[in-house]
């Protein structure tokens, strides 16, 4: 019993001496680590706050862009009310549609989690429905058939591609069904190899004339398509596939997600 008690005393004495010797070395290190952790936590919080501020600012920019585009649409409308000429009114309405196709990109970005990229399939579906709404003929409806694979792209690419799609669908409505006949417009978006994709608009309308020359057309819509195709470094083809008129844009996506 005495031996045991003595051992405990010796052990306690050694422990006290060791602690006294080690503590001055360990405590500052632990304190430094705690301080470092606090600093890291504060830096992370500041970074998060800065990210949130940036995101809020970017959303505000998209909001203001949409508002300004709405003012431009109002200008077109107000100008169109100063003429009785149906053709001139139609020109202003087409300009409005083009601005709408751009505004829709900002609307999708504004609502998406990623403020720099856009799900083009979702955008194209909304755009196609918008255009259908502005050309809708309840007597002989043109059916819209949309088959779109998911493709994510940057705003720089989405704007010109959206404008191209707007022209192609509008052309199908205007020139494919000039007498107000019913039919079908099919919009497809397919991913192909190497990060490329194909956007295609086909219609069952009257078809393009056999002597039609894409490079010498006076149509503003197709001239816009030609220029914008150059901008996205794509290739455009317009022709007939069986009984359908087919317009096809092939281009490489700048931020492709398989």
């Amino acid at each position: 019993m005495y031996v045991f008690s003595a051992s405990v005393k010796v052990f306690t004495a050694i422990a006290s001496v060791t602690t006294a010797a080690v503590l001055p070395l360990v405590v500052p290190r632990v304190l430094a680590l705690v301080q470092q952790a606090k600093a890291t936590e504060q830096a992370t919080a500041e970074l998060r706050a800065s990210e949130e501020r940036k995101e809020a600012l970017l959303r505000e920019v998209h909001h203001r862009v949409k508002n300004n585009l709405a003012v431009i649409c109002s200008l077109f409308y107000l100008q169109s009310t100063h003429t009785e000429d149906a053709e001139t009114v139609q020109i202003f309405q087409e300009m409005e549609n083009r601005v709408h196709s751009m505004a829709l990109v900002h609307e999708n970005l504004y609502r998406s989690e990623n403020l720099a990229r856009i799900d083009f399939a979702e955008y194209a579906r909304a755009l196609a429905n918008d255009i259908l709404g502005s050309y809708e003929n309840p007597v002989a409806p043109v059916r819209l058939n949309v088959e779109l694979e998911p493709v994510v792209m940057s705003v720089d690419q989405a704007i010109p591609c959206g404008l191209i799609l707007n022209e192609l669908i509008s052309n199908s409505f205007k020139h494919g069904f000039p007498k107000g006949d019913g039919g079908e417009i099919k919009v497809t978006l397919r991913r192909t190899s190497g990060g490329a994709c194909t956007l295609c608009v086909e219609d069952t309308g009257v078809g393009i004339p056999s002597d039609f020359d894409m490079n010498n057309t006076k149509s503003l819509g197709l001239r816009l398509v030609r220029s914008l195709t150059r901008q996205v470094r794509g290739a455009f083809e317009l022709g007939r596939v069986g009984s359908r008129t087919s317009a096809q844009l092939r281009f490489k996506v700048d931020c492709y997600v398989p």
Binding site: I72, C73, Y77, E107
Partner: protein, 138 residues
């Protein structure tokens, strides 16, 4: 269209701080047969004129000049008036949409709006209001 639902010419108020958009809305409403009683750019003015003039329809922007926004104005107006309120706004974030949803309103149009969407939304809004009035009188 809509005015045929009623024996008298329907009256509309526009609360919008972009003057050109207000002009467009005013002209489009006139073409649809409405009598536009005023176009104002703040929620406070909107509440005052709506209370005094008791319009049938209010096209309400959300971000406005002044202290209050369009959602607060719509809420204040609908507390004591049965008027169709259609929001016309470029704001479409979840927070704003949720706030707007909680108020009594008959439509939400995103700017820039399509001409056909404006007409359809107003027509539905006026039909909803007519149904409410019929429901009360039966």
């Amino acid at each position: 269209m809509c005015p045929n639902l009623h024996a008298y010419r329907l009256r509309a108020l526009i609360v919008e701080d972009e003057a050109l958009i207000a002009d467009e809305l005013s002209q489009r409403l006139s073409r649809l047969g409405f009598s536009v009683i005023a176009a104002v750019d703040s929620a406070e003015q909107g509440i005052a004129i709506a209370t005094r003039e008791r319009p049938d329809l209010i096209l309400m922007d959300i971000r406005l000049k002044g202290e209050l926004d369009g959602v607060q104005a719509a809420d204040a107006i609908r507390q004591h008036l049965d008027v169709s309120i259609v929001y016309v706004s470029a704001l479409s974030d979840d927070c704003t949409v949720e706030r707007a949803k909680k108020t009594d309103h008959d439509g939400f149009l995103l700017k820039p709006f399509h001409r056909t969407d404006l007409q359809d939304t107003i027509e539905i809004a006026m039909r909803r209001r007519a149904a409410r009035i019929r429901g009360r009188t039966q």
